[in-house]
Each structure stands twice: as C-alpha cells, then as structure tokens.
C-alpha cells in the first residue's frame, strides 16, 4: 500500500487534486481510498486530502500517520505540524519558488520544489496550480501514468480543459528527470 497526503489552503484545489489522483489510479486498476478534511475548512485555512493506493481492497479507516509522499500546495505549510505525518524518507513535492537547498534542514525527506505558479501562468491558468502540481507529482513519484492523469484532468476540469491538460503535462515534463 502507498499513502499520500496532499496539503493546501482552502480554495487552492488540494481536495480536487486528491480526487483526481484517486480517479487516475482507479482507472489504472488500483484499489484506492481518498478522504479530505471538511466541516471547519474555510478559504485560506490549511486543508488536507489523504489517498491510499493498493492492489487489494483497502480496509483501513483511520488517518495516514506515515505518508510515503506528500504534495504541498504552499511552502508556508511545510512545518513540523504536517511533516510529522510523513515517513522519514518521504517524497515531498512542494509548490515553491525557493531552491532545493532551502529545504535541506527539514530532515531526510526528498523535497522537490516546483514553481507551480509559473507553470500555471504559462498556461493561462492564473493562480490555479493543481493541474501543474499533479503533473510534477506524477513525474517525481513515478506514478500515476501521465497520459491517464491528463485524460482524467481533461474529463474533470469544469473549464479551460486544454489549459489544465497543458499545465499538467508541463509540470510533468519540467520535473521529470
């Protein structure tokens, strides 16, 4: 089983990103489970979505306490409050303009900063960064499959379908090593 936590601020699309990732893994034949914080969530407050992926049915009904990977929409959220839910060598993709060295003090994590805002701007997406970050995440986590992800983004995006897909693919290509 692999466990992923997506962190963001209310309104940034972290929950949507969780659903899109779940849809993508589901279309690839995996069992998935995703749930997000709700109720007290408001625009601007920290929100999170949790995602489990497995090749057998998922029975766990509890929080993720040692995530294999995190996707963080806002580098100001990346502190001990959230990092304690990441495994010691977790992959963390973070939306940030800061260089990788800036995050080296945070521990053994593999932290990959991605300028999601720049990618979104390149694709006329304003401040909507979730498609770009999903592409970057797929590149660094080596899954899900980028073509499947782009198809899910295309079907799910309520507006600007082409820009969302282009943003997702650019995020992938720019981060792929």
């Amino acid at each position: 089983m692999q466990e992923i936590i997506i962190l963001g601020r209310g309104g940034q699309g972290a929950q949507t990103a969780g659903n899109l990732l779940a849809q993508t893994f589901f279309s690839q034949g995996y069992f998935v489970q995703t749930f997000a914080t709700y109720g007290g969530a408001r625009r601007g407050t920290p929100v999170s979505a949790s995602l489990r992926i497995d090749d057998r049915p998922i029975r766990l009904r509890c929080n993720i306490e040692s995530a294999d990977a995190m996707l963080c929409f806002d580098d100001s959220l990346l502190d001990g409050n959230f990092l304690r839910f990441a495994s010691s060598n977790a992959l963390i993709v973070v939306n940030s303009t800061r260089p990788t060295e800036d995050f080296s003090e945070m521990g053994e994590y593999r932290i990959i900063p991605v300028d999601g805002v720049a990618i979104a701007r390149d694709n006329h997406m304003g401040k909507v960064v979730n498609s770009a970050l999903l592409g970057a995440f797929a590149a660094t986590f080596a899954q899900p499959d980028i073509d499947t992800l782009c198809r899910v983004v295309e079907v799910s995006a309520p507006v600007k379908k082409e820009n969302n897909v282009a943003s997702c693919r650019q995020g992938y290509l720019q981060t792929h090593t």
């Binding site: 659903n19 779940a22 849809q23 589901f26 069992f31 998935v32 489970q33 995703t34 749930f35 997000a36 709700y38 109720g39 007290g40 049915p57 998922i58 029975r59 766990l60 009904r61 509890c62 929080n63 306490e65």
Partner: protein, 386 residues
C-alpha cells in the same frame, strides 16, 4: 442469472444515494446537515437529470418536519427514505418514537457525527446510540459498499417485519471516503425488492387510522407487539443478508466473526473501526497471537443469543466504543456485559473509550491495547485510552 453491476468511485454518502436511486422509494423527505448533505445533493443531482423517476423529493423546513412527512407518507403504504445526522437526528427524536409505535416502515440513513456542544463534525456514534430506545432497528456499516448494500436490504427487512430501520455510518472515514463501489443493476434490485404491499395503510376510502389514544391495556399490548416484531428482526436481517449475497456476491449477517476460530482474545466493535481492527487482527495473527474481531452490525435488536454463542469459550473481549454515555461509559461495552450476564464461562470484558469525538484509532493503537488488556484484570467501568 447474471447481472451487470458497475464499479464506480464513490464516497459512502454517494453510495447511499445510489442505493436510493435503485430502490426508487415513492417519497424522500430530506433536510441537509453536515456531513449528510452529499446524500441529498446527489439525490437532487439525479433528480435534475431525470434519473429519480417515481420518487417525490420533499425538502421541508426541518428534520422534525422531514420525519413527520416520512411517517405520514409511510402510513399510506409506500416506500420512504430519509437521511440525517447528529443534531438533525436529535431534532427528530420525538417522532422517532412515534414512527416506531405507528409501525411506519421508514428507512433512515444516519451519518454518525458528534452532537453539540461543543460544535464538531467528527465521527462518534452517540447520536444514533442515544436513540436506541425509540423502537427502531439499528444497523451499523463499515464501508461505502456496505452502506449501499445495507440500504437496499433494509427495505426488505422493514417491510417484512413492519418496523422502521436506521442505518448509520461514521462521518468522514465512511461518509466522505471515496473508494470503488459495486453498484447493482436496476433489475437486480427490482428482483430483490418485490413491490411493497401492506395490509394496513391510510386511505380516505377505507377509513382506517393510526395512533389513536388507547387505554392502558392496549398501550401495553402495542409494546408487546413491538417486542414480538423485534424478536423476528434477527432472522430477517440474516435472511436479507444471505439473499443479497446470492445476487451480489456479498454476504451480510447481523454479527460477523472475523478470524475468530481458535481466538482467545476478541475485539468487539461497530462501524468504521472494524476495518482498521481487521488489519490489526491480521498483523497480530501473523505474529502468532490468537486474536479475532467480532463486528456488531445489528445493534437493535441487540443480538443477545448470537453474541453469547460467538463469545462462548473466548477468554477475553476488548470492546472499542466510539461513543460515551456520560455517567455509564461505552454503550457497546455496557450492553455487551448485560447480554453476557449468566454465561459460563464468560469472557473477561474490557471496555475502552477509544474513538470518542472521532479521535484517530490506528492499527498500532489497537495492537497496543490488545497487548495491554488481553491479560489484564477487567474493571466494571469503561476506560479512557489514548
């Protein structure tokens, strides 16, 4: 006969809405409340697309009015659905008693959420457990799939026995957890649920009535009749679960014994914590520990005889409660102790207030509690644990 079920990615709440769409109740009075609202939203979405034919959705001004509409609709002899949570269920309280006394065959889906105050949105079963004396059948669901399947089965049970049924799943971990769910075909559900017909129903042409004032003796008789009906529920739940298994491949029973063969210690719990407990049981068994899980799916009527049978010969039962009855303790713990009274040899029973307020109950915590309490001397009180 093979059917074409489809597998969709659904939250627990949307799985319930799909069940309702397949059941096609005649009347569905609903009032929104977090975290139930996605059930109502999905139903109105179906309706707007013309996919909820034959169902009249009513949106009255409160849960109290929604239940009043449920009762009157049900007494005309039609299928009825409603859903609520927490404060909404508590506002219905007066009419829950009324519905049960009038033998209204209502199916209500409740999303277990902490009752205020303090305000919260978290999974806790006190809202429905505090309605345990209202005369409703109560079933607890572990997963979105089980919530869908149980909603369909509930109509069969309610209509056979003449009782209202409340199904509950935990907020958040089930209501808002999205996962693959098998949605049965329309034909499959139509064949499982024959057209509803009942002997007694309101019709101006017939001149029957419900709920008229009675003398003491006849009021007493109404409770005896309800008791007799409740006594038939266990068999009806068993039968509906088996029959649904024949058509869907997914069997259900009032109680589920998971890896209990040869188990000396058994975790007893309800709702979403069962899923996490299964993982804990597997991990403990892998290390040679004889630990099993007893999942209580049917809580009212409390399956006393079946619980005695399941726990006979077990040396220790550890009850995990996600509720707290102030001044008594965990409700499942207290009811289990009463049910096993007189059983010899009876297991030692530990009651752990483990998930109260929706606090996270992880596999590691369950494993830790088993190692801590399996050999310990039990106390009468339920214990707060971290």
């Amino acid at each position: 006969m093979s059917y074409t079920a489809k597998r969709l990615l659904l939250t627990g709440n949307h799985a319930v809405a799909w069940a309702v769409k397949r059941v096609r109740p005649h009347v569905a009075p609903l009032y929104p409340i977090t975290p139930q609202t996605p059930i109502l939203e999905k139903l109105t979405d179906f309706q707007s697309k013309g996919e909820l034919e034959g169902t009249e959705l009513l949106t009255p001004e409160s849960e109290h009015s929604a239940m009043a509409a449920c009762i009157s609709a049900s007494l005309t002899g039609v299928r009825v659905f409603t859903a609520t949570s927490s404060q909404g269920l508590l506002l219905m309280h007066e009419l829950l008693h009324y519905a049960a006394g009038a033998r209204a065959r209502i199916v209500l889906f409740n999303v277990n959420r902490t009752p205020a105050s303090p305000w919260g949105f978290w999974p806790d079963q006190l809202d429905s457990l505090s309605q345990r004396d209202t005369g409703w059948v109560q079933l607890y669901s572990e997963s979105p799939q089980e919530s869908l399947d149980t909603t369909i089965q509930a109509y069969r049970i309610a209509e056979l026995i003449g009782v209202p049924i409340m199904i509950s799943h935990d907020a958040f971990y089930v209501s808002h957890a999205m996962e693959p769910v098998e949605v049965p075909s329309q034909q499959q559900v139509d064949e499982f649920l024959p057209p509803f017909a009942c002997d007694h129903f309101l019709d101006p042409k017939r001149g029957q009535s419900f709920g008229a004032p009675l003398d003491q003796q006849n009021w007493n008789r109404s409770r005896r009749e309800m008791a007799a009906a409740m006594a038939r529920v266990f068999a009806a739940v068993t039968d509906a679960g088996k029959k649904w298994g024949e058509t869907s491949g997914r069997d259900y029973a009032p109680l589920e014994c998971y890896r209990m063969d040869g188990a000396t210690t058994v975790i007893v719990t309800m709702g979403s914590m069962c899923g996490t407990a299964r993982e804990a049981v597997d991990a403990l068994q892998d290390k040679g520990n004889r630990v099993g899980l007893l999942k209580v799916r049917l809580f009212r009527p409390f399956p006393v005889a079946a619980l005695k049978e399941a726990l006979a010969g077990v040396s220790c039962a550890i009850v995990l409660d996600r509720n707290f009855s102030c001044g008594l303790g965990g409700i499942l713990h207290q009811e289990l102790k009463a049910a096993l009274y007189g059983l010899k040899p009876a297991p030692k029973i530990h009651g752990l207030l483990s998930g109260v307020g929706g606090v996270n109950v992880s596999v590691n915590k369950i494993k830790q509690w088993v190692s801590e309490y399996a050999g310990a001397v039990p106390v009468n009180e339920s214990l707060w644990v971290e």
